[in-house]
Every structure is written in C-alpha cells, then in structure tokens.
C-alpha cells in the first residue's frame, strides 16, 4: 500500500510535470489555467489588473505570507516583449517552483510576478500566421499618414510565417554572408563591395507609399512605451508614454506596492551577464542617463552572482536597454534595483561572428530547422524583378526549443532566490540601558543594515516613491525627555549602522520600531 502510494505520488509528480509542462510554449488559456492553479495555494493571490484592448487579462501574482506587505519584495516580470515567449514561461515556472519547492523564502520576502505584460502580442505565437509581434491590439497609425495599420505583413509564400523577402537589385545594399550564404549582410561599400539584394520584411506595399511593412497591424509595444527615454512618435511607441491600459494598470499597481526593492525582468536587455557602465558625465546631468556610481557597484555584485548561478556564458549580449523599455524604467524612473536578462541566447558556436550565421550553425548541429529556404515568389510591387522569400523563422532567435526551458527556469529561479537572500535587513544591535537616577533611563542602540545591499539604491534616495527608514519610539511625549519620537533616516548603506538614543522618564517598558516597507522592519521592547 505504502509502496503503491509512493509510486503513485512519484507518478503524479512526474505526470504533473509532463502534463502541464507540455512540448511547446503555452497558449494564453493554458497560462490562465496554470495561474488559477497557483491561486489555489494559500500564499498566492492572483489578480487581473485590467483587460487589454484585445480583451486579454493582465495578471499579477502576489506571493507571500500574511505579513507580505511588511516584507521586502522582488517583482518578476515576463512578456515585456510579446515575441519573447520564453520570458512568460520563465516567470510562470519561477512562480510554480517558488510555491512548490521554496516556500521558506516567503518568510522574509514577498514576490510580485507579472507573467505576461503583452498578451495581445504573445498570442501571435500560436496564431495561424506567426510573426514576432510587439504591439498590442490598439489601432495605431505608425507611419503617420492618417490611416492606422494600413501596411502590415503579407504571407507571400503561404507558409504561415512572416520572414523576409529579398529582391534582386543592383542598387540593393545586401549580399550573402561569407559565413553562411543563406544569411544576408550589408555590402561593405567602403571596401568597394557592390550590393546584390534589397531586403524587406515579407510584405506588399499596401498603402502605395513606396515603403514595406511600415504601418503594422499591431498597436503599442509595452517595452517601447514607458517614460524613460520615451521614443515619442516612433512606430510602436505612439504619441504619449504609458498610454496603454496594461502599462497604466501595472504602474498604478506598482506605485501602491511600497515594499518592492528590486526587479528581475525577463526581456531582451541584459545587465546581468555584464553590469551597466557608469558615466560620471551622464550621471551628473539634470536628466540622468547613467546608472549612479553606488548602484553600479551593486549591479556588478549581483551580476557576479548571476554568472555563478546561470551556466550559460554570455555571447553577443549587447542590449543594455532600449528607449522606452521596462527594465530601465524600473531603475531610472521607479528608482528600484533593476535587473534584466533574456534568459536564453544562442551560444557561441564555431567562431561565427554574424549572429544569424551563428544561430544557423548551432541549430544545424542540433538538427533543428530554423531556416525557411529562399523561394521565388511573384510580387505585385516588383513585377520585373526576382523576389525570394525566406530567412530565419520567427521566434527562433530569442526562444530556445521548449525542452531546454526547464533547465533555464531552474537556474534563474535559483538566481532570484539568491537575490532575495541578499535583501536589506534592518536589525537592532548593542542595546544599552543606563539608569541615570531619579527615574530617568537612557536607551542607546545601533540600527544595522545586515545586508550586502543598501536600504535604498542611490537613485532610490532621490525618489519620493521609496519611503525613508522611519524610527518610532512609543514612549508618550511626557515620558520622552530627549530623543525623537519619530525620526526619518534617508538610507543605510550595505552593512552600515546608525546610532540612536533616548532618555525616558518613569518605569514600565517602551518599544521602538525601525524600517521601511522595502527594507523590512525591526522591533525591540525594553524594560525600564
């Protein structure tokens, strides 16, 4: 019986993984099912923040104990780019592993998990016509000609995917790469190389303006429409930052969660393989565009931990932020520690320098077909030229085959939990009570941040959206001879202390408390 039970349990857990961790990235409804399953757990609270223009829920999971709001918190964010389907799965699996295997972490840390910020765009992965989509379902006039979305993609070769089209053209800029002839690279005209092809996304010139796929049938991209370096008027960004339901709902929610001290975002940007660089000039300008010096040191330390925890070695990880993106917003405008990683990238393989050639060589070695061979099509806009459709399949560059995701999720879960262990931690030490006679007692104590992280990022010290460390002495005003009843401290650095003292009249006991939601709280009671 016991043996059967054990087997049953093992099977169950095996099956559980097998059934839910399917062979491909989940559909939106599968994601919702998994979130609802998580919601059944006592430590999890699932909320739909809003519905997108496309009618899709934008969810957040709050995972923590009863004192969740008093514990420092990490926000984990996926789906900031709709085509980066891996990021959604990583956020989801982190939530599942946290609840199933690491509940002890919740004693001290709370987690806000936003699994998918771009559900409208994410859906394209499972649609009949697959392409790497960034924008939501709002109608937008990207090329600003007065007509929204009037030149999207066209599936010219009928393969259900949008790739590229190359047009034989002596005036074109592109030639086949020497590393892989399937790949096109720009001719080096400085060296006298002539071009052979013009290159476009697979499309027709629907609005007859001479441009191709410049007014996509998709709306605003979440990861291009936040306030930091908002690329106003650019395609997919729109006219006004944070103009979309999902971005406003998320930010409104975040501004109410005072306990978040750090973000981990799964997005194309990477400041974990290599930390951001500090530029004194840009850090001192009124509009700050460089990570601040002390925060850079924190970024470097956390990056070191990431590289210890995650086995994949960095290769061509040059994206350290793009205009209007989320991960930079979380630091530069929300003033929290902010970390981002794509989670996966094509590893360096056979010394190919071109990213696409590298991807093809790597995929070939695994026997995966990620390339659509160039195939001639008839094109109405190029009646007298040879037009071929082909190229790397959508999603292949940024998302690994699904069977690789388990290990990536395991390692990134470990990283987030290590980050949680480092969180600011306020403690009272060196408590002294001295009897001064005549019923007076002097209390002195050190408030100590027992953490390698500061209580406030350097940016956070500037922001009104992080609370100061507040120290409260509960002795009544008539008993408090000296010392502050309420004292605010701007910040405590890593392993830094501040000394406090009070003189109290009379007997009984007093309690003092110190902390801030994102740095945690310490409490001490003293008998007089």
């Amino acid at each position: 019986m016991r043996k059967f039970l054990l087997t049953g349990l093992m099977l169950g857990s095996l099956l559980g993984t097998a059934v839910f961790a399917q062979s491909d990235y989940p559909t939106l409804s599968q994601i919702t099912q998994r979130l609802q399953k998580l919601d059944g757990n006592a430590s999890v609270e699932l909320t739909s923040l809003t519905k997108t223009e496309g009618g899709k829920d934008v969810y957040v999971l709050k995972v923590g104990t009863e004192s969740a709001d008093e514990n420092p918190a990490i926000a984990v964010v996926g789906g900031v780019e709709g085509y980066h389907v891996l990021s959604v799965e990583l956020a989801l699996q982190f939530a599942e592993k946290l609840v199933a295997d690491h509940e002890e972490a919740l004693e001290k840390t709370t987690f806000y998990i936003f699994p998918n910020m771009s559900p409208d765009a994410y859906e394209q992965y499972h649609a009949a016509l697959k392409y790497e989509r960034r924008g939501n379902a709002v109608a937008v006039d990207h090329d600003r000609d007065g007509k929204p979305g009037d030149n999207g993609y066209t599936d010219l070769n009928g393969d259900g995917m949008i790739t590229w089209m190359r047009v034989e053209d002596p005036m074109g800029e592109w030639i086949p790469s020497k590393e892989d002839e399937r790949v096109l690279v720009k001719a080096d005209r400085a060296k006298g190389e002539a071009g052979k092809y013009s290159l476009y996304r697979e499309s027709k010139d629907d609005d007859k303006d001479g441009k191709f796929a410049e007014d996509l049938k998709e709306g605003i991209a979440f990861n291009k429409s936040l306030t930091y370096k908002f690329p106003v008027f650019e395609p997919l960004a729109g006219d006004i930052a944070v103009s979309q339901k999902e971005s406003r709902a998320m930010l409104d929610y975040l501004f109410e969660q005072w306990n978040i001290f750090a973000f981990v975002t799964f997005s194309p940007a990477n400041n974990l393989s290599t930390p951001l660089k500090y530029s004194a000039g840009d850090a001192k300008k009124r509009v700050i565009t460089s990570i601040l010096e002390k925060d850079q040191a924190v970024n470097a330390m956390v990056s070191g931990i990431y590289n210890e925890t995650v086995s994949q070695k960095a290769f061509q990880q040059n994206n350290q932020g793009t205009d209007g993106d989320f991960f930079q917003w979380a630091y530069f405008h929300f003033a929290r520690l902010s970390f981002s990683t794509p989670g996966y990238w094509t590893p360096e393989f056979k010394a190919k320098t071109n990213a696409e050639a590298n991807l093809l060589a790597w995929s070939d070695s695994l026997g995966q077909e990620v390339f659509v061979p160039w195939l001639e099509v008839k094109h109405p806009d190029f009646p007298s030229q040879k037009v071929e459709v082909g190229g790397i399949k959508p999603f292949a560059a940024s998302n690994p085959p699904f069977d690789k995701v388990g290990e990536i999720a395991e390692e990134h879960t470990a990283f987030i939990l290590r980050l949680a262990e480092m969180q600011p931690k306020l403690e009272f030490h060196n408590l002294k009570t001295e009897d001064l006679g005549n019923g007076l007692t002097r209390i002195s104590v050190d408030l100590y941040n027992n953490s390698p992280l500061p209580s406030h990022s350097e940016m956070g010290e500037k922001s009104r959206w992080l609370r100061k460390i507040r120290i409260d002495m509960d002795a009544s005003a008539d008993k408090l001879v000296s010392g502050d009843k309420i004292k605010l401290v701007d910040s405590l650095g890593a392993f830094e202390k501040t000394s406090l003292s009070w003189i109290i009249r009379g007997g009984g006991s007093v309690t003092f408390k110190a902390g801030a939601p994102h740095a945690g709280f310490a409490t001490q009671t003293v008998k007089l």
């Binding site: 306030t227 006219d239 006004i240 930052a241 005072w258 009124r286 507040r470």
Partner: protein, 582 residues
C-alpha cells in the same frame, strides 16, 4: 474755485432732476448707455469684480449656453479627482458649420488651484464673444470662421478648497489628491492650521529676548530686521500652523503635493528630476480629460492657459533640453502674436519659460506645442504695475503692497497681528496678507485685465489658419486633355502645420481634392514659372499637401481628360475647410 464747484454741483443736480422727470414721463427711455467695447444689456449679467467657486462658474457657463443656443454648448469632458465635472464651453456660430470643421482655440485656466482668476478670465472670453456677437461684425465673422473651447477651471476641487478652506496665496497649488510629503509613510497628516479661524493662513511671530525683528514704529503691520548690533523684540516662527504629527515640523504634510503642470506628456520627467511630477504623464484625471479632448479635436490650432502671477505672456520651451524643439519658423509666429500681446496688456512682458522664468519638464504648454504642434501661450495674470502704473518688477514688493492696502484697499487686504495661545509655541501673534491679495486681482482691477487678456486670445485665435481656394486656371493641352491649376491661400499668420508638426508628421497632410473631373495626373506645383512639379502617383485626385504656410499659398495642378463642371475642396485638420466650384 469753491463757489465754482458748488455751482456746477447745483447744475448737475438740476439736470439730474430733469432727466428723472423725463424718465417718469416716457417709461421706455433708456437710463443707461452703451460703453464702447462692452456687451450692452447682455442676456447673462455677470459681475466681473468678484470670484466664483467651481459651481459658480458652471452656473454661468450653463446660463451662457442656455441664453445663446446657436453659439454655445456646454459639456463635461471628464471628472476631477474628487469626481467633479471638468466643464467645457464650445463657442462658435453653429449655423455656419460644425465646431470640428473650423480652426479652434483652446482656453483653460486655474490649473494651479490658487491661481484663481484664470477661470474668470476664461469665462470672460466666452461671455464677451456670445454677448457681443449680435452687435459686432468682427465677432460675427470670427465665430463663423473659428471655434473656441473654453474650460475655465481644470482644477475644480482645489479651486473650491482655496476659497472655502484656510489657505495662503500660494496654496494648495496642486489638486486634492493627498500624498506623503515628508516620507514617513502617512499622507496629509500635518496640514496647515487656521488658528485664528479667519480662513487665511498668515504668519506667526513671537516675542523673544533673542529676536532679530521689531515692529515698525510707524506701521505695526510691518516687521523690520534690527541692525547687526541691535537687540530685537520678535522672532518669526513661520506659517500659521501646528505640528500635528509630532515629528518636530510644522505644516510639513498637507494637501498634494504635486504640480498639475508637471504632469503633461512632453519630455516628462519623474519627481526627482522635476519636482511635482506624478507617476507618468496624465496621471491626473483632470489633465487626462483635457488631453483626450485635444486628441479628439485635431482642429485645435491655438491654445491659451491662464496662470498667475507676474504679468507675463509665456511661450515654451519650458526646459533648455527642448531648445531645438522650437525652431525659427515657429518662433517668428510666436513672437508676432506675443509682442502684440505686450501692447494689448500693459505691464505684461512676452517671455520664454526656460530662460526668463524657470525650467519645467512636463508642462502643459510644451505638450500642446511639442506633442500636438499647437501654438500655445501661458499668461501669468496680475502684475503690480496695475496698482500704480509703475514698474516694480512683476510680483511687486511688500512695501508696495502695504501702500496698496493703505491707499487703495483701505486695510481690506491685511489681517492685523493678534495674540493667540499656540499648543507648541505658547503666546504668539498671528497676522499677514490675506490669501486673495497679491497674486489675485483686487476686484476693481479684474474686469479690465480680463478684457485685455481676452482680447489677446481673440487675436491669437484670429490668426489660426484661414484657407480659401482662388485663382483656378485652365489650360488646354490638346488631345482632350486640360490642365487645372488651383491656389490654396492661407490669409492668417499661422501655418496649417507648425514646423514641429512637419518634423514628426503629427497631423495628417491637408488634402486638396478635385471632383467631377477624370484625373490623369496630379501634382503639387513647386515652381510654376520654372515648371517644376512634384507628381503624386497614388490617388492623384486627392493631393496631399504637407503644409500651407501662414500668409502664404500652395498651388496644385491636375491633368484631366474630362470634366467641365468640377469642384475643388481643401480639407485641413487645423486649417478648416474651403471649396470652389466651377
């Protein structure tokens, strides 16, 4: 001299009695007469020497709309933080076309809640246009051509707070959302306290053996510093209030604080860079309602926002980082209108925000111009020049204010020092200028300055584009073809597209369309004499013109194979519509 006066008086009295007699005799006889420039016997009688609450303003707006149904409509464009309506008047001659088909002027006031008179000034524009319409040809034509969207207060909650609750001349400034200003985790727990219960937050002083001030023996309202080696009698404790939260600070967590004029979506920056900013552009529902209205009304070509004080006609950029946003072509137009404003409003100076005032990110006027390509001014109403017609530099000095209160307002502007027992400071004296003095106009100066500022916005609105189609010419090309050339003329200062608009393609092009002819080819004429034409291959019957410059023209040309009676129309978002028919 004296007898002379007495004699005159007698004559005047006698005349008065005569006229009284004749009035009784003929009951229809007028006993008041039309003054130039002011609506006579207006349907809506508004007193322009006092201030109105939000509800008071709305009442007038509704009365204006009810009295002039063909000229005015009133609608709520959104809600405030506390759920009040944001009420907008649309003023145009509806019998000559929809409001949205005409170039429009946006006017708002009171974004800063303590800067109250912007609401009355905005309301004055609506009142003046509707009441003057019947008697004045200029106004008649103006409302045929243009639309005015007028929102007297875009901060109704805190406007009412300013009047009805204790405040000083600088508060609340924000709206009524309450944030944590002292960083202690609690919001709005240490507000100002009206200890003497007079509705005004003034100053607290206290007798002190180590004080550095005395009361001026010639004027006890005035505190003066003693010399470096002299002993004083008073110390200044600061603003009227108490330490409500026990943190050792007085009045350190009140209403707000945020600045509704740092909440707009052009070069928006967060609070640590731009104090007063909120979470993201248009966090505030009041501003969001304006933004959404403007986005839905691309016919808005000019905008005016009323603030106080200092006597300024301001243009952007608000921040030096935006210097390149405002280019020379547009600045020429800004200058032409702004300098005319200096003549129309004595004591006011035409200035640029970032270099003459202070740097601002996320301000309303930069959003209107940078994001929508709308020529926008922000007037800082009330200037001390209006008191004695002497330049004393914008907001005036305290000495001058004492003089005003002595000679013109006879003590009405000041609360004399009175003793009060304070819970933390013991015996204090409380007194100072009232909240409605200094930044706000005294009643006797309101109407004149309202009219002058209204005239400035009317001049601005007048110079939004006005398009017409003229000089249509035909040329027989043989073989059944003919060329038709038409000129689209803009007879006002402003272009249909500001250069900022052109740079980012903010607004769609203007379309010049021919109908009733079979079009073979269509062109924008680049140089008629040198025969330079730019062909538009796709839908040539509807020529897209990127801009019609101010006081300038654009020519278009079609080659047609048939059509003897045809019509030509121009359709511009900011320039309105015009047509020509053969």
């Amino acid at each position: 001299m004296k007898t002379m006066k007495t004699k005159n008086l007698i004559v005047a009295l006698a005349l008065g009695a005569l006229s009284l007699g004749s009035f009784e005799a003929t009951a229809q006889q007028e006993n008041y007469f039309r003054a130039i420039g002011t609506p006579h016997k207006p349907k809506v009688e508004i007193a322009w020497n006092r201030y109105y609450s939000a509800e008071g303003l709305w009442d007038w707006m509704k009365k204006i709309a009810a009295a002039h149904p063909d000229l005015a409509k009133v609608e709520a464009i959104g809600k405030s933080v506390e759920g009040r309506d944001i009420l907008t008047l649309t003023i145009t001659d509806f019998s000559t076309g929809k409001d949205t088909d005409k170039p429009a002027m946006w006017i708002d006031g009171n974004i800063h809640s303590n800067e109250v008179q912007g609401a009355e000034f905005s309301l004055y524009v609506a009142w003046y246009l509707t009441e003057m319409h019947a008697d004045n040809e200029f106004v008649k034509q103006l409302l045929k051509d243009k639309t005015f969207y007028i929102t007297p207060t875009i901060n109704p909650d805190a406007r009412n707070n300013f009047f009805k609750e204790p405040n000083n001349a600088n508060t609340p400034r924000s709206g009524m959302m309450v944030l944590d200003n002292d960083g202690d985790g609690m919001a709005g727990e240490d507000r100002m306290d009206d200890l003497d219960g007079d509705g005004h937050i003034t100053m607290m002083i206290r007798k002190s053996p180590t004080g550095r001030y005395i009361k001026d023996p010639l004027d006890p309202r005035r505190l003066m510093a003693v010399g470096p080696s002299q002993v004083g009698e008073y110390e200044i404790l600061g603003q009227e209030g108490t330490d409500n939260d026990g943190d050792g600070q007085v009045n350190d967590d009140g209403v707000g604080y945020y600045d509704p004029n740092r909440d707009w979506g052009w070069n928006w920056q967060p609070d640590y860079i731009q104090r007063g900013a909120l979470k993201y552009p248009f966090t505030l529902p009041e501003n969001r309602s304006v933004m959404e209205f403007v986005m839905k009304h691309p016919n808005i070509a000019g905008a005016q926002s009323f603030h106080n004080s200092g006597g300024m006609i301001l243009r952007g950029p608000g921040a030096e980082e935006d210097v390149n946003t405002y280019n020379q072509d547009d600045i020429r137009i800004y200058d032409a209108i702004g300098k005319k404003g200096e003549e129309m409003i004595p004591g006011y100076r035409y200035l640029t925000v970032y270099k003459d005032l202070y740097s601002v990110f996320g301000g309303e006027l930069d959003w209107f111009y940078g994001n929508r390509g709308v020529f926008t001014y922000s007037n800082e109403l009330m200037v001390s020049y209006l008191y004695f017609h002497q330049q004393s530099g914008g907001r005036g000095s305290q000495d001058e204010q004492f003089k005003v209160d002595e000679l013109l307002t006879f003590g009405d502007a000041y609360v004399n020092y009175k003793e009060f027992t304070h819970p933390q400071f013991g015996t204090v004296e409380i007194g100072g200028f009232k909240k409605t003095f200094g930044r706000a106009h005294p009643g006797f100066l309101l109407e004149q300055d309202a009219h002058r500022n209204a005239a400035f916005t009317i001049y601005h609105a007048y110079h939004t584009p006005k398009l017409s189609i003229l000089d249509v010419k035909e040329e027989d090309l043989g073989g059944g073809l003919k060329a038709i050339t038409a000129t689209v003329f803009n007879e006002r200062l402003m272009p249909t597209h500001a250069s900022q608009d052109l740079k980012y393609k903010i607004e769609r092009p203007d379309y010049v369309t021919i109908s009733g002819a079979k079009v073979v080819a269509g062109f924008v004429v680049e140089d008629e004499d040198m025969k330079k034409f730019k062909e538009q291959k796709f839908s040539p019957e509807k020529i897209a013109v990127e801009n019609v410059p101010g006081m300038g023209a654009v020519k278009v040309k079609w080659i047609v194979s048939s059509g003897s009676s045809y019509s030509i129309t121009v359709d511009s978002a900011k320039g309105g519509k015009a047509s020509w028919k053969k």
